[in-house]
């Protein structure tokens, strides 16, 4: 008799990175539907398109703007990330990203680095206000959702697709269910394979997405690309969103505090970097 259970996989590019979907006992067309969901939402949340819902919100700073339920949820997640990290994960760092030359997708290449224009980021709750179906950004501020959106989307797509699914959006990952053998989904985290079940994982790194003297991870306290002594942090947490926030917070805390922070906030973790920051 032919077994009706098998892992189906689907790989694609979205949000400038590699994405993968896995499921047990599910027709592949469901995974293709998942890819469509990712592309649709990514096109609304990107800052690299002037037509995106996020760009229109940024362009109308100072006004209350009608927003979709999805953008409202991700903006609220950004506020939650700010609170969880005591302000280290701050969606209001976008002006510093632009000063660092991250003005367009890195496939198109970074533009001139003008770090002298970088400033400490404002407190997110002071510049981003979210109500039911409405949002307002203070004049002079703008937000970018980057990794927060990927972690949130991985969690949400897992819920949408079914009970035994893995969603990996550029390293922001959520594993739901028991996998093929009933003991969890085998996922490589920092070179070690871990069985994840209803958990998320993420890696935050400054080793990729680098150009010249700059990289993509901004320290909101200085407005400059982070140089904390940590270069890469991998984390397993209760969700993809939480893993993304904890990994980024730990990297920004630096080696002296990250271990204690991860021991309180992560289910598994790995830190790499150097001590002489």
């Amino acid at each position: 008799m032919r077994p009706d259970k098998a892992v189906v996989a689907h790989h694609f590019e979205a949000m400038g990175t590699a994405c993968s979907l896995f499921a047990v006992g599910m027709p592949e067309r469901r995974l293709v539907d998942g890819e469509r969901w990712v592309h649709d939402l990514a096109s609304r949340l990107t800052r690299f398109s002037a037509d995106s819902e996020l760009s229109r919100l940024n362009a109308r700073a100072g006004e209350w703007v009608e927003i979709s339920a999805e953008l409202e949820a991700v903006l609220r997640a950004a506020g939650q990330a700010y609170e969880m990290s005591s302000g280290l994960v701050n969606a209001a760092v976008m002006p510093s990203l632009l000063a660092a030359g991250y003005t367009r997708t890195l496939n198109a290449g970074a533009t001139a680095v003008m770090l002298e224009r970088a400033r400490p980021a404002p407190a997110l709750p002071e510049v981003l206000h979210v109500r039911s179906a409405l949002a307002r950004i203070e004049p002079g501020a703008c937000v970018e959702l980057g990794g927060i959106a990927k972690g949130w989307m991985a969690d949400r797509l897992c819920e949408v697709m079914g009970p035994n699914v893995v969603v990996n959006l550029g390293g922001d990952l959520r594993a739901n269910g028991a996998g093929l053998h009933g003991d969890g989904w085998p996922v490589s985290v920092a070179g070690v394979t871990l069985l994840l079940r209803d958990q998320g994982a993420a890696t935050s790194s400054v080793r990729r997405r680098r150009w010249g003297c700059a990289h993509h991870l901004i320290d909101p306290r200085s407005g400059l690309p982070a140089e904390t002594g940590l270069e890469e942090v991998s984390v397993v947490a209760a969700s993809g969103f939480e893993a993304e926030v904890v990994a980024k917070t730990a990297l920004l805390l630096g080696p002296e505090l990250a271990t204690a922070y991860c021991s309180r906030n992560a289910l598994a973790w790995w830190l790499d970097g150097h001590h002489d920051a």
Partner: protein
């Protein structure tokens, strides 16, 4: 007369405590400009060491289906 005095005293005490609490809280509002740092214990770092795995995550020898590669 004495019960009335006791009631008045209790009321004054309650109002006084409320006012003092309000004054204390108002003068100790969280400063949004304070240095950003989550409340963690100081700890030693273990850079480049082994992956630290808590009790709710199990390592395995199975081949991984995917990884949290940095993007």
């Amino acid at each position: 007369m004495r019960p009335v005095l006791m009631k008045v005293a209790a009321t004054v005490l309650t109002l006084g405590a409320t006012a003092a609490s309000a004054a204390f809280v108002t003068s100790h509002l969280k400063n949004p400009g304070a240095p950003l740092q989550p409340p963690v214990l100081t700890g030693t770092s273990a850079l480049g060491g082994a992956v630290v795995v808590g009790p709710s995550v199990q390592p395995t020898n199975q081949p991984p289906i995917t990884s949290t590669y940095a993007s």
